[in-house]
């Protein structure tokens, strides 16, 4: 039996179907958390933002309607069957990215849950086992990037999204997206120049 698309699940969630919503959360939780961690660089912030994004998803579900996909959205179409789920995905990740970029303007929560997560030793939420000096340097250089540049890099490079979809998530033109990416990579090259030369062409 063919699995329900995200769009179909979202429509069912809009009718109050909690099981459909739970399936959506299960499908997107890991990727959403990873993306938020890449943008914020902080595990607790990322988890808080992901919860807020899913809350909005549930609240807005009754009104949610898939928008018309641009005819030239080849990035989404290239992914085959996944392309069919990209409308909900684009919407969810757009909400998520906006929450990540807006988070500094919001008051920070003080509560039991927040205290609990801050106490974690891996507060930035990246896998400690894979860390070496190069890894730390790359992470530090990325942390220095302006958030919009980091978000563009997270979407295009680490999540592997097409430029149309990534630009839609950031609510900018493709030209503006490319400008963010070029500036991000240039800054990283400057920060990691010695390592890049050591790595050379390899």
């Amino acid at each position: 039996m063919q699995e329900d698309s995200d769009d179909a699940l979202m429509r069912r969630a809009g009718s109050g179907d909690k099981a459909a919503f739970a399936l959506l959360v299960r499908r997107h939780l890991a990727r959403a958390t990873a993306l938020a961690q890449r943008i914020t660089g902080n595990r607790s912030d990322a988890e808080e933002i992901v919860q807020e994004a899913f809350l909005r998803c549930w609240q807005k579900a009754p009104e949610w309607r898939p928008a018309e996909r641009p005819a030239n959205d080849r990035a989404a179409n290239d992914r085959g069957p996944e392309g069919a789920t990209a409308q909900f995905g684009t919407w969810l990740y757009r909400v998520l990215v906006n929450l990540c970029l807006d988070r500094r303007r919001r008051p920070q929560p003080v509560g039991i849950e927040a205290a609990d997560t801050v106490a974690d030793s891996a507060a930035d939420g990246f896998d400690e086992t894979a860390r070496g000096e190069t890894s730390r340097r790359v992470q530090a250089a990325m942390a220095q990037l302006p958030e919009r540049q980091r978000a563009a890099l997270a979407l295009c490079y680490f999540e592997g999204l097409g430029n149309i979809e990534a630009a839609a998530m950031l609510d900018i033109s493709i030209g503006a997206l490319e400008s963010l990416l070029v500036r991000a990579r240039r800054a990283l090259r400057e920060a990691l120049g010695d390592l890049a030369e050591e790595g050379g062409a390899g």
Binding site: R26, R43, F54, F126, V138, E197, G202
Partner: protein
């Protein structure tokens, strides 16, 4: 536009791997890569940075459990629009504006025609003054 300049921008934005390049520009960029030493050098430089980015730490798995998160969130009320929005559907803003404009036009027409009627000569208007009778000449 200069193809090498576009290639430089493309590779500067998306990195060395052609699979990351926009599909509608990939073929042309790869053709340029095959015949231009400068393009090949740009790609090697981008590949060195890509290799570093690939060593960026991987985000850890979420500590939140999907089922419990969904269960907790779905206790919250959902947002339902006002009934007229359902009646008007996705084009509601257009129809709201159209109805508003039509109402303004009708009111304007009614007010305008009423005032035009007032401009007509009143039935009990006083007799016109004969200017010649009061003239000293």
């Amino acid at each position: 536009m200069n193809r090498l300049a576009r290639f430089r921008n493309l590779i500067g934005a998306y990195g060395a791997d052609p699979r990351r390049w926009p599909p509608d520009e990939r073929a042309e960029a790869e053709a340029l890569l095959a015949r231009s030493a400068e393009a090949a050098a740009l790609q090697r430089r981008a590949a060195a940075l890509d290799a570093l980015l690939d060593r960026a730490p991987v985000p850890a798995a979420p500590r939140i459990e999907a089922a419990s998160l969904a269960a907790r969130i779905s206790l919250s009320p959902q947002e339902r629009s006002r009934p007229y929005r359902y009646l008007l559907g996705a084009q509601d803003k257009f129809w709201i504006r159209a109805v508003g404009l039509a109402a303004a036009a009708i009111i304007g027409f009614v007010v305008g025609t009423t005032q035009m009627a007032d401009l007509g000569e009143p039935a009990n208007s006083p007799a016109p003054i004969d200017v010649a009778e009061i003239s000293p000449w």
